[in-house]
């Protein structure tokens, strides 16, 4: 289980998360929705281990083990994957090279043998087909000159190859047209499994039409203020955040 307990986080002295509690069980898709500035992206960065965030209190437990003391690469090897809202460009590094380097780095750190090149290529090819990633893209430098949709598909392809225990999707739907949204969602759905959980961060109900959540959490001002099932997202879509945020403040 991925569990966040009483998490308090500051950035440059400003409180962003204020005692956040959250559980994602294996096999579960949990959605987090919330207005701009509620701290959703901060949560995903802190779980993944980005520096510049000061954790002043609380824990993030992966199967009972606190990950906050671990380096980002260690967390990755333990099975935490973050699909970035803004995937980063790495000029000069062919996408295929990067994919192979990541997969093998994680395998090595778990003490597993490296994948042979033919096995690896087969994996990539299967994943690429599902996500309608053009094989030529794999030869290009990672994310350089990719469209918004291509970048997001590449994030999901990486997730498919790395087979994480928990996938954090940070506004994966932003910047996607309806076709790309469908492709990306299908890619995520194909990865749903009994031993894998997802934390899906989004502004919009739209994504949740494609990736059906088991739980929906509403986040405001650095805390979860309401939780419910998929119906909560629909309700939210109709009424907006205002009612919930006002309730929480009252």
């Amino acid at each position: 289980m991925l569990e966040v307990r009483n998490l308090h986080v500051e950035v440059e002295g400003q409180k962003i998360l204020r005692g956040l509690d959250l559980k994602v069980h294996p096999g579960e898709v949990a959605a987090i929705m919330g207005p701009n500035g509620s701290g959703k992206s901060t949560l995903s960065y802190v779980i993944a281990g980005r520096e510049d965030y000061e954790v002043t209190d609380g824990e993030v437990l992966l199967d009972g083990e606190n990950v906050l003391e671990m380096d980002p690469e260690e967390r990755a090897a333990k099975g935490l994957f973050l699909a970035f809202q803004y995937p980063v460009e790495i000029p000069g590094v062919a996408t295929m090279t990067f994919l192979k380097a990541s997969v093998n780095a994680q395998r090595k750190s778990r003490g597993e043998p490296e994948l042979s090149t033919p096995d690896f290529m087969r994996h990539v090819k299967q994943g690429a087909e599902r996500l309608e990633v053009n094989p030529d893209m794999l030869k290009r430098p990672l994310n350089v000159g990719f469209s918004g949709g291509e970048k997001k598909r590449m994030e999901i392809l990486q997730m498919a190859l790395l087979e994480p225990r928990y996938g954090l999707l940070d506004e994966t739907d932003s910047g996607l047209d309806i076709d790309a949204l469908r492709i990306v969602s299908n890619g995520v759905n194909a990865l749903r499994a009994a031993n894998r959980g997802f934390l899906v961060i989004t502004h919009y109900q739209r994504l949740l039409d494609y990736i059906k959540p088991d739980v929906v959490h509403i986040m405001s001002k650095g805390r979860i203020i309401k939780s419910g099932d998929a119906a909560l997202a629909l309700e939210l879509e109709k009424n907006g955040y205002r009612d919930y945020v006002a309730d929480a403040a009252a």
């Binding site: 980005r50 990755a76 000069g92 590094v93 990067f98 990541s102 997969v103």
Partner: protein, 490 residues
Amino acid sequence: MPAVQDTVDQVKAIDVSEYKYGFVTEIEAERAPKGLSEDIVRFISSKKEEPAWLTEWRLEAYRRWITMESPDWSRVKHPPIDYQDLHYFSAPKGTAGPKSLDEVDPELLRTYEKLGIPLREQEILAGVEPTNRVAVDAVFDSVSVATTFKAELAKSGVVFCPISEAVHTHPELVKKYLGSVVPVTDNYFATLNSAVFSDGSFVYIPPGVRCPMELSTYFRINDTKTGQFERTLIIADKGSYVSYLEGCTAPMRDENQLHAAVVELVALEDAEIKYSTVQNWYPGDAEGKGGIYNFVTKRGDCREARAKISWTQVETGSAITWKYPSCILRGDDSRGEFYSIAISNGMQQVDSGTKMVHLGKNTTSRIISKGIAAGKSDNTYRGLVSAHRKATNARNFTNCDSLLIGEHCGAHTVPYIEAKTSTAVFEHEATTSKISEDQLFYCRQRGLSGEEATALIVNGFVRDVLQQLPMEFAVEAQKLIAISLEGSVG
């Protein structure tokens, strides 16, 4: 390319953050007494049993040198060098004269084995020729200790031997070409080299011959308080081709050691020379103590029509690097290329670049320079592109990128462009960037360590240049890049 794919493995395979080639070979050396004078110049010349013209040539250089001053225009700082406190000649005992490998001191053979330099010619097994054969000339302090594949090269008429030997076996070629690209009076260090040069390689490729294997020279400075002044001369006759590799290392010593080499390339009509360097001299320790002063003059002359000279260099070592491999584009339609990766870390200082001097019509040149600065180092690209009044339709493309790692290093770009013909077209692009926290975090989130991520990003940054290197060198260069940047993250 596969070499890039292997980067991460190579980084992982490296477990020392130290200079790997810093050992000293315990071998008895025969040295000239310290200091520089006409007598020392004569001593060096007589050690090599040189003809009178060459002794006189050296003496003229020496007389010129004592009237000159050390250049001060580059962005490097060092205390004044006491030229009287150096040995100008040091040779492992018993290496006088050319020898077969069986006669070479086993201690020397072990040294090269340790450095990974093959001095044994690979046997041809069951009639299958190995594909990647490289002929090696091994220069240890002031002398060449072994040259491999000489006999086989001679079959195609290629001459590959120590220059001290060529003086005797091919005096007409040496006399005709020595100093014809870098004149004796060229600059302070080149003039010093002309007076005291010790050994280096001589290559002659006859007309129409494509050299059947890569040629390489491996330079090793071993002795203490010793300068190395090698001299390399490569002549590619009409329509010939040669690819030549140069590698260098030195032990870790507290003192600064002077390396002032001269390399001259001559490409005649339709000839092509590809010259690659992986320079890994000892860079000094983290506080800047010790290390090699690498003050080198390298120049190629595209002397006739359609000649082509290409320099590729990976510079990772030396406390100070001062070198500008250049091309004189004299022949019409000749072409010069310069591909460079210069990496500095710790307290290293690099002032390096190239000169493309367009003299002939329709001459073209291309410069791709990648500077990477980490630690507290300073990394300057200095380049000249000029077109003579008669160099109609001269073309140059320059791309000069700098990458900064950390907060305490510096990168500078100093381009000089002079066009005396209105038909010249010179393009210059330059960028400076930093490895961003975003990039590092992204890679680490995918499971790469900070150092693996840096190596991967740097390799991406230098990819255009690495692709120019022969395969064996590209792999070597990648390892070096990783080692050079160790400790620069975090």
